[in-house]
Amino acid sequence: MKTKYIKFLFASAALLGFAGCDDDNEGGSLVDETLNTEVLDNFSATIAQSVYNDLASKTSTLYDQVLAMETDGATDVELNACRTTWKQARESWEQSEAFLFGPVSTDNIDPRIDTWPVNFTDLDAQLDGTAEFTEAYIDNLEDALKGFHPIEYLIFGQDGQKAAAELLPRDIEYLKGLSQNLKVLTSDLKVSWQPASSGSYHLAFTEAGNGSSVYPTQLSAFEELVNAMMGICDEVANGKIDEVFIAQDASLEESPFSQNSMIDFTNNIKGVQNVYLGKYTSDGKGLEDLVRQYNLQLDNEIKLKISNAIAALGNVTDPFGEAIFSQPIQVQNVVDAINELKDTLEEQLLPFVQQHSK
């Protein structure tokens, strides 16, 4: 407490001094505007647009696969194909959680596709009822009745072992409405970042400091990127994992039916890695290039922290709901490694981009 207060006074005194500085004191050589612009452009083109494209494409495939089950009855092969596609869509979505800003947040798409827990009481009642599960009907339901997790529950079953024969016609009807709604929402998300769309977030982001209505400076866009990376680290380590781990309560686990939680967490961190490297299916200018230009040691440290976190995640070999009991040391290591990454981003990368963009 005392130390913190003292640190704060120190910081505010320094801040007052900083506010008194003229802009031209920040030497031009510290800000490479050309590279900064490239990094922002590449984030939108190579990461955001590509990841959202993949997400939309996978959910579209999932919808088609559900339609096929509706047409001629579900087979185990078809149901398995749905599960695989669900996991692929999930991979894109979890990687995109490293940049939860813009339309995914302001258009309220995140809670509509990824709310946990599922409202099982009402879900069962819906299935027992007589409503027609049109896409519009599903869209109007509350968040805990739609999106990834009700789909997961229906295609994996409570224990992840559901057989196609257990899928009732009404289940498939509901699945159809759910997957169509997921397809529509993820398609909206994809479109929202495309350069040609009206009100495109690509323009809002890449024209930061150059006419953007959202980001008055490139600095604010860089802060947005780093804050989002920190945000997902915090969410994974201290929310998704630690909340369940501390409570020792597997019923709090997200994605329990598919036993996909550890993969989800890993994809969150891979999402952070994508943003840092500016690399997804292709490699372009990323924060990495900016950091390397001025501070190789920091670049090494960030990469080390990312790989430590991913390695720690890999050391948890049991499904997450079991690992909180069977592998407590490994789970604690994950929490610690991700928090270390978060701290490095917060204490070093954030000040770095504040120094090297304006």
Partner: protein, 460 residues
């Protein structure tokens, strides 16, 4: 004693560092506040999507934990009971979690065409007052519309909003358009009374509220001028509202009409009316006495400690610092803001009271741009529904801090109590009643001056 020395030394060190960080050092000013720091020492420097979501920068670690518990609860999605986790939703409700209205701890917006309301709620009453002098609840509907129900429970009614656009003109000939809303309840589950009164309310941002709660009541009352004795046409009025925990009427501070006296009651009220979650403050279901009521005498659906943690979370959300406060256009806009008498109600600077039990919010100079009082805003903005001492034309002066970050946090610029304004300019031009003179002043401004005024608001 030793502490003091350490602190003094660290200030000196800080000052020293700051001097060396400039090539041409300027002397530190002899002031105890800094206009860039809207939230005093509880100011943060995030101007992105998370700008309203930062914790106080100087909370002790144990208190940070409480904030985080509250944060998780704020995000928690409630579902239908029975359930091992998060049970208790409804049976009738507006939304499923705190954050689904206060997205990113920020501001809601009215529904798009064809959508049902989500982050906008409708207060209801009939003429008369309740036992405590508050709005008189509507038989069968209570004090608030719940437009959703869990499976098998009828929503009370659905809301239809229609807008009529009308064009207006500045003195220089440039036009602007305002959209005038009408609100109609559709498909009510039972008969609505003919003398129904409705008040639409957008979910407001929730940061900085701990500081507003900590302003000394005396300082707020000093700004009041109920009978306009100074003859400036502006008569701020305190709204005294029922304080459930205290069992008497106390100064209202929160909500669009300042009809809520504390963050605890505000949080408990939102749990109860908006989500259908009972607590020790409001132990009775919002559906009590209606056909949707499940008749189960449950325990409190949110525990005392979680409710307190959510209150603490909201109380300790920091205020984003200003941007570009020294830009010449911003400074010009600030002068216009003062000349137009905006600052008479949107009071820039206030001080929180000394509170030794809560040092983080004690004795802070803050820049919230509100007087915490209600004012007559004219017939166009009126909801014509009294709420304790606030009449049907009176609204509380909204704090303006952070307003320039609404777009990056929430992706829109919908302002005022029902989000009818689509830009800051529209929000200004809706002002009437006591604020009519300010609006008239703005009408006569040149384009450049209008732009400067907006630029100033964007810097808050």
């Amino acid at each position: 004693m030793k502490e003091k020395v350490i602190i003094r030394v660290s200030i000196l060190l800080g000052a020293l560092v700051s001097i060396y960080s400039c090539i041409e050092p300027e002397p530190l000013e002899e002031s105890d506040y800094n206009e860039w720091l809207s939230g005093g020492s509880q100011t943060v420097f995030d101007n992105g999507a998370g700008a309203f979501s930062s914790i106080f920068p100087n909370l002790a670690e144990t208190r940070e934990e409480v904030h985080e518990v509250g944060d998780l609860a704020f995000e928690q999605t409630f579902i239908t009971a029975p359930s091992p986790i998060n049970p208790g939703l409804g049976p009738i409700f507006n939304n499923v979690s705190c954050t689904s209205c206060h997205i990113n701890d920020g501001r809601g917006k009215p529904p798009a065409d064809g959508e049902q309301i989500s982050s906008l709620l409708i207060r209801l009453s009939i003429p008369g007052t309740d036992l405590h002098g508050g709005p008189n609840p509507v038989p069968g509907f209570g004090g608030q519309l719940q437009q959703r129900g869990i499976f098998g429970s009828s929503p009370e009614a659905l809301m239809k909003i229609e807008y009529v656009e009308q064009q207006h003109q500045f003195a220089d000939g440039e036009t602007y358009t305002l959209r005038y809303p009408t609100y109609t309840l559709e498909s009510p589950y039972t008969t609505l009374p003919g003398d129904l009164m409705m008040s639409p309310r957008i979910a407001p941002p929730v940061f900085g509220l701990g500081l507003l709660e900590a302003i000394d009541e005396v300082d707020i009352l000093a700004l009041a001028d109920v009978d306009d004795t100074n003859g400036d046409g502006i008569s701020g009025k305190p709204n005294y509202a029922w304080n459930v925990a205290k069992g008497n009427k106390t100064l209202g501070r929160f909500g669009w009409k300042a009809a809520n006296p504390s963050l605890l009651q505000q949080s408990a009220g939102a749990y109860n009316e908006d989500i259908g979650i009972t607590s020790f403050i409001f132990p009775s279901e919002s559906s009590h006495g209606q056909s949707q009521y499940d008749g189960l005498a449950d325990e409190y659906e949110v525990s005392d400690s979680i409710l307190h943690a959510v209150e603490f979370y909201i109380r300790t959300l920091a205020v984003p610092a200003r941007r570009n406060a020294d830009h010449e256009d911003v400074l010009a806009g600030k002068k216009i803001f003062v000349d137009a008498k905006c600052a008479v109600c949107h009071v820039p600077r206030l001080r929180t009271k000394t509170d030794v039990s809560f040092p983080e919010i004690s004795n802070q100079v803050i820049f919230p741009y509100t007087d915490m009082l209600v004012h007559d805003m004219g017939p166009d903005l009126a909801d014509n529904r009294p709420d304790f001492d606030a009449n049907g034309q009176e609204w509380r002066t909204s704090p303006l801090w952070g307003i320039g970050l609404t777009r990056v946090v929430n992706g829109h610029q919908n302002f005022l109590h029902d989000g009818r304004a689509r830009t800051l300019t529209e929000a200004i031009m809706w002002h009437g009643g006591e604020a009519a003179q300010s609006k008239e002043f703005v009408i006569t401004l040149s384009k450049a001056d209008r732009d400067a005024l907006i630029k100033f608001l964007e810097s808050l």
